[in-house]
């Protein structure tokens, strides 16, 4: 009724409601400015410290690795491990999280166990994975799966619990079958929190693969970075940091944008 008045009474809000397109554009321009600023600071630091190589030298080192093709083996190994591990985590984590979230009893039993596992540095189990899979992509992928599965379960269970309790009622009143209930009611209603699980799962899988590659690997960007450190190859080291940051940033931005879109539309 009087909501229009209250909105007006808080003039702060009014500049958010109008002109969404232009403000989103301005935000992206600012984000670009932040990136440029980061490179400028990097450049400045490289000028005053021997420990930092210049952005240009780093890019050249990276470009050379791409040009002579030596990096591809490592890049594919890392991305393979992340993607395979993440997919395994998703296949296991989403259904389990769903059931834990749906049932009060399963929630009471497994919530503390999942939370405890989530709180444990899973990378500590990497030696066991090495024993099982041997040094290679298999162990890294298993590491990624082990790392990502718990955050996916946690956010899926939280998503199920946050569903408007009227929706399952609606499903029953329309006598939807279980499959329809999941695909037509639960998944669309949970889409934003599923995306949170995907984003956090991807992030943690990625980080853990790099950590695992530091520990033992046949190939991978983490291993390459470790070698660069060993040879004190600063430009290559910073080049790899940039590449890994870029992968993390692009992956996150894409998932984050999808998440924001789902949040708006659902």
């Amino acid at each position: 009724m009087s909501t229009d008045v209250t909105i007006l009474a808080v003039p702060k809000n009014s500049d958010r409601s109008g002109g969404k397109k232009s403000s989103a554009l301005i935000d992206n321009v600012w984000r670009a400015v932040v990136l440029v600023a980061v490179f400028l600071i990097w450049g400045f630091l490289s000028a005053i410290s021997d420990l930092v190589s210049s952005p240009v030298a780093s890019f050249l080192a990276l470009a050379e690795a791409f040009a002579d093709g030596s990096i591809y083996r490592h890049l594919w190994s890392t991305l393979n491990a992340v993607v395979i591990g993440f997919l395994i985590a998703a296949v296991v984590g989403f259904p389990l999280g769903y059931y834990i979230g749906r049932s009060k009893f399963l929630g009471a039993v497994f919530d503390p166990i999942v939370a405890g596992a989530f709180a444990t540095p899973r990378v500590i189990f990497f030696p066991i994975l090495l024993q099982i899979f041997g040094v290679g992509v298999g162990a890294q992928a298993a590491m990624a799966a082990l790392a990502a599965v718990f955050p996916i379960m946690v956010s899926t269970a939280a998503g199920v619990r946050a569903i408007n309790p009227l929706l399952p009622k609606l499903a029953r009143s329309l006598s939807l079958n279980p499959l329809q209930t999941v695909t037509k009611i639960y998944i669309p209603a949970m889409a934003p929190s599923l995306m949170v699980g995907i984003r956090i799962g991807f992030s943690i899988a990625f980080i853990n693969v790099i950590i695992a590659e530091f520990f033992a690997a046949r190939a991978g960007l983490g291993l390459l970075a470790l070698r660069a450190y060993g040879q004190l190859d600063l430009p290559m080291m910073y080049g790899l940091i940039t590449l890994l940051t870029l992968i993390a940033l692009v992956g996150n931005l894409v998932l984050w944008a999808i998440e924001g879109h789902l949040r708006k539309t659902t």
């Binding site: 009087s2 008045v5 009474a9």
Partner: protein
Amino acid sequence: MSDVLGTSTTEQNNNVVFDRIGMTFQTDAGATQAVANVSGTIPDGKFVSVIGPSGCGKSTLLDMVGGILKPTQGSVSIDGELVTGPRRDTAMVFQEDSTLHWRSVLDNVAFGLEIQGVSKVDRNDRARRMIDLVGLRGFEDHRPGQLSGGMKQRVAIARALAVEPRVLLMDEPFGALDQQTRQFIGRELLRIWERTQNRVLFITHDIQEAVYLSDEVWVMSARPSIVKEIVNIDLPRPRPEGTHALPRFRELEEHLWNLVKVEAEKTLGPGALLA
């Protein structure tokens, strides 16, 4: 100043005076005038209600008296002093639940006094009296989460009264309550007001409520709003339960309804209220 209403300077010293106030909001879509040129006076000890169509700027008016919004034109003065910000002698009650959920009822009621720097002993003492007054004795140590909506609004009213305001500003305080609670707590408010005798500016959508509670009802026009008519509610006080059934009550109610209807149709389009 406000020649129209014939108020003299001496009288203004005990009045809340609106002097041609207006409020224009700047938005991306351009300037919106919410309130235009409102003048009026709330005399000492009077209960004034403001009604009008949705979005006519009733709350804006109240916020300007409370000092949390600055008028873009004109001014408000209380007892001869210009309102430039929130004052110690005004207190506000909002439509939404504004209790602080982490504080007990007692600490909620004492909140305004605490902000003013009143000592703990004094503020608890005053808060307890206000809790008695609003009928919440025994609930001092409860949390808002344990109370019903009506009780939470009583807490908010007690908090506002605890600072002993000379002007009480109420922005649809019962708007979120169910009809029964609303009538009951309305009667309670009247009983409290008859004891405290401060000035009340009361915003409401409910014409019956306005007639029952007030000495004057101001009818605001559609945006940009002005006070279209001031209706004097000449019902005797105290007003017992049967008041609603008095023929004069019905007359006033119908008169106000007709005034509001015309304004509502301006915003919603003719015949909108019949649909």
